[in-house]
């Protein structure tokens, strides 16, 4: 596995995994995940969000177990467990999933911009400029990708403060009565809450780029914990601010709450918020495309640059062809679905399988 080796100068410090995990989770999902969760869990949606978040700590733990045992990325794990062909097939599915994820992120963001800021934004030109930016970032290597993730977390962090406005205007009685929904409703809500949490599975590929990976485990968990905290705050603010019926009709609840932010020099905060969100979207795109490119590089012997350019062109074309709201929604929900099963079923299965295979090999 000479190919899997990563040179020391390309590796990143363990604590930066915090930002990589966190930034991948906070993407387009957080703009409007509230409607999907409350549809099922009503005013207990925040419990679903919390439960989904906490359960994912376990999944991250399992991911680290798998990767640390292999001391490589998921592609090595696949090859090791399933052999060259089946393993390669699974890896390709994973890569397609990541590419689809990047398409979803970009298309959803463009949709938000079209609906909220510029109805006649040309998605081809905008997509082109945005992907050029992604390419410029990727050609600097994984360290630059990590750098932009760092800034993608730190710089837009002030947006969390804007949640003070809906909290201030909200009615907290809306949260009561607590736990008036059945377990199955909460479960359905938690399932709906998984999209904004997904994305940390990119860790499966960039894992070998971490210096001292065992140390990075707690940082990954920490990054995820911050996301859980943020989502619960946003969820509570949303439930307090909207009535349940109103929320049913609000696709991007977070953006709607920004509308009421009022400062002496600025009104209609959502313009600033959506523009700043480009800083959150950029690392999302960079990481997913990088991860897909890296995966392809590992599977077939091509330079990563040569793998990245076709991915970017593919993202641009699919992005341009998706025009209707229904299609974008479908893409979002199917990515969410696939992601849900991948994290909650595939990862534990893989863990078990690896455990058994290693036991058997040891016995032989």
């Amino acid at each position: 596995m000479r190919d899997a080796e990563v040179k020391e100068q390309h590796k990143i410090s363990p604590f930066l995994v915090f930002y990589l995990v966190h930034t991948m989770q906070v993407g387009v999902g957080v703009m409007g995940f509230q409607r999907i969760v409350t549809k099922e869990a009503g005013n207990d949606a925040w419990i679903s969000v919390l439960a989904a978040g906490l359960s994912l700590h376990l999944i991250i733990f399992l991911m680290y177990k798998i990767l640390l045992k292999e001391n490589g990325d998921i592609i090595s794990v696949h090859k090791n467990l399933f052999g060259k062909w089946l393993g390669g097939f699974l890896s390709w599915i994973l890569i397609i999933y990541f590419i689809a994820m990047s398409i979803t992120v970009l298309r959803t963001y463009i949709e938000v911009v079209q609906v909220w800021m510029f109805p006649d934004l040309n998605k081809w030109i905008f997509g082109c400029v945005f992907l050029l930016l992604v390419y410029y970032c990727l050609s600097g290597g994984f360290k630059v990708v990590t750098g932009i993730s760092f800034f993608g977390v730190v710089l837009p962090f002030y947006l969390l403060l804007t949640m003070a406005f809906p909290l201030y205007h909200g009615h907290f009685r809306d949260l009561l009565p607590v736990l008036n929904h059945s377990i199955s409703e909460l479960y359905a809500g938690a399932k709906g809450a998984s999209l904004p949490y997904l994305g940390f599975s990119t860790l499966l590929i960039y894992f070998p780029f971490i210096k001292d990976p065992a140390k990075s485990h707690r940082w990954a968990q920490g990054g995820h914990l911050l996301t859980v905290f943020m989502y619960v705050v946003v969820m509570v603010a949303t439930i307090a601010f909207f009535s349940e019926r109103q929320l049913e009709k609000t696709i991007w609840a977070t953006l709607t709450t920004w509308k009421i932010a009022e400062m002496p020099f600025v009104e209609r905060f959502e313009y600033i918020g959506i523009a700043t969100w480009a800083l959150v979207i950029l690392p999302n795109m960079c990481i997913t495309v990088w991860v897909a490119g890296r995966g392809i590089r590992r599977l077939i012997k091509v330079k990563q640059r040569k793998a990245t350019i076709p991915i970017l062109i593919l993202v641009l074309i699919v992005n341009g062809m998706l025009t209707e709201r229904g299609n974008i929604d479908l893409l979002n929900s199917s990515i969410s679905e696939v992601g849900f099963y991948m994290t909650y079923i595939y990862i534990p299965l893989l863990f078990l399988l690896q455990f058994i295979v290693y036991k058997v090999r040891k016995l032989q």
Partner: protein, 495 residues
């Protein structure tokens, strides 16, 4: 040196100069090359030199006088009697040719042999050490570098009288033969960094190196970046101070500026005066400068973005002011802004090219007359005039001149993107800038450090400057060989 001579040999056809008489015949074609024969000592001798390079007073007092007095008759005796160190007896043509060009004179007794004495007697015509003009500070040293490498080295050595201060010298430039000195502190500065600088200097193959800024452009990490990646300073105290930190200083003959590296983006916003004042005042000044940079880059694009697309952002009270100031303006905000930005750039460029006194007049004419007239003529709104003037003012707060230029330049892409996609365009442009800065390196070290990679310990002297007791360690960025600057004083007198 050898390679230079080989090159010279290649240039002058190899069969042209074979011995000293031929060389002298060649040199005589220059009008300022003097030669004379004297028999005062009994034995006739010949002296050749460039009168523009040799100190003629020294020649008569220190060289000729003792020779006549002692009646020297051989080269060996010359070396013994003339009270000047560094006399060379040689017959090596390349050596003779090289030395005579830097102020040595040739002395010989036999007109037909290659044997001669080379006596150093260079004249030194250079400016006296004067006050710093770009980095003037009210408190602190008033000395600045001059165009002579030796004087500059002296200014630094005077401040760091330790034997660990090493100056590695190298000559570059095929025609200018510029002497360049790489200064570092042995046992403190990272060897790898020194090696990088040496290798890059050795890799320079150009005909002329007229200034340190040429070297800077040639050894910089990313040559296609508008950002300077090495700090240049005219203050010897700043150079000495960064040497103590573990940085490398590059000086070159004929340049009153020193290059400092590896550096970081933040260092361009720290003035050396920050170390002369209390840490609270220094930190405030730095924060103001960083705010000024952001303001300078972003404010005009934000104006264009808001007034082109996002009127809704502005609260209604403020909006009426803006609208009434723009009521008569026939131009869209972008043209208005570009018009004003360009006039400011014109003023600055004209001011920089003209002598000081005329420059001032231009500043007044431009700033007041053009500004007021263009508002009255209805070409620009007075709100934008204020904004642009403030932005220009803010860009001048950057202590390093080069960085100020860059800041003014990168405003223009921001303006265009603001016109294209409003706030979104501004953020996209900002992302581009961020990625560019992330990719930059200074002598192989990350340029955005200590922000990314985040090194909390290096933040002690970055955005703010903490008091002295926090500065016991050298920056991690520099990976110095000894990390401790000084021991923390446990029983400080006021505690």
């Amino acid at each position: 040196m050898i390679c230079v001579f080989q090159w010279l040999r290649k240039r002058q056809k190899p069969d042209q100069i074979k011995n000293l008489p031929q060389l002298i015949a060649n040199l005589k074609t220059s009008g300022d090359f003097l030669h004379f024969k004297s028999e005062q000592t009994g034995m006739p001798y010949f002296i050749y030199y460039f009168k523009t390079l040799v100190n003629e007073q020294e020649l008569s007092e220190k060289i000729l006088a003792p020779m006549v007095k002692n009646k020297v008759s051989s080269l060996k005796e010359v070396k013994d009697t003339v009270p000047i160190p560094g006399i060379i007896l040689t017959d090596d043509l390349s050596d003779i040719c090289e030395k005579v060009m830097i102020g040595y004179l040739i002395l010989r007794f036999n007109e037909n042999s290659n044997e001669c004495a080379l006596i150093p007697s260079p004249t030194d015509i250079s400016r006296k050490v004067s006050q710093p003009e770009v980095e003037f500070t009210v408190v602190g040293s008033k000395e600045s570098f001059v165009e002579s490498l030796d004087k500059n080295l002296h200014l630094i050595r005077k401040r760091l009288p330790v034997h660990e201060l090493k100056a590695y010298e190298i000559t570059i430039g095929k025609l200018t033969h510029t002497k360049v000195a790489v200064l570092y502190l042995d046992g403190i500065t990272n060897q790898e960094n020194i090696q990088i600088v040496k290798d890059r200097l050795k890799g320079i193959h150009v005909d002329q190196v007229v200034d340190n800024s040429v070297i800077m452009q040639l050894i910089t990490d990313n040559k296609n970046s508008p950002f300077p990646q090495l700090v240049d300073t005219e203050r010897p105290d700043r150079a000495a101070s960064v040497l103590c930190e573990g940085k490398i200083v590059i000086l070159s003959e004929g340049s009153p500026q020193a290059l400092l590296g590896p550096t970081t983006f933040i260092e361009f916003f720290s003035a050396f005066e920050d170390y002369f004042v209390n840490w609270i005042i220094a930190s405030t000044a730095r924060l103001i400068r960083i705010f000024a940079v952001l303001f300078s880059i972003l404010v005009t694009p934000l104006y264009v973005a808001t007034l082109t697309y996002h009127y809704e952002l502005i609260p209604s009270d403020l909006l009426s002011t803006l609208v009434s100031s723009r009521q008569q303006i026939p131009l869209p905000p972008i043209l208005e802004a570009i018009f004003l930005e360009l006039s400011i750039e014109l003023l600055r460029e004209a001011g920089a090219r003209l002598p000081t006194k005329v420059g001032q007049t231009i500043g007044i004419v431009g700033g007041i007359v053009i500004g007021t007239a263009s508002v009255e003529a209805g070409l620009t709104s007075n709100v934008l005039l204020i904004i642009v003037a403030l932005a220009a003012l803010a860009s001048f707060t950057t202590p390093v001149y080069r960085m100020g230029n860059t800041i003014r330049l990168i405003r223009f892409p921001f303006l265009l993107f603001a016109h294209l996609w409003g706030l979104l365009g501004v953020v996209l442009c900002f992302c581009f800038l961020l990625i560019h800065l992330l990719r930059l390196k200074s002598l192989g070290k990350p340029f955005l450090e200590p922000i990314y990679p985040l090194r909390v310990k290096d933040l002690k002297d970055a955005l703010i400057r903490l008091p002295n007791k926090f500065q016991t360690k050298r920056p991690i960025q520099l990976q110095t060989e000894s990390t401790v600057r000084f021991e923390k004083d446990k029983n400080e007198f006021h505690e």
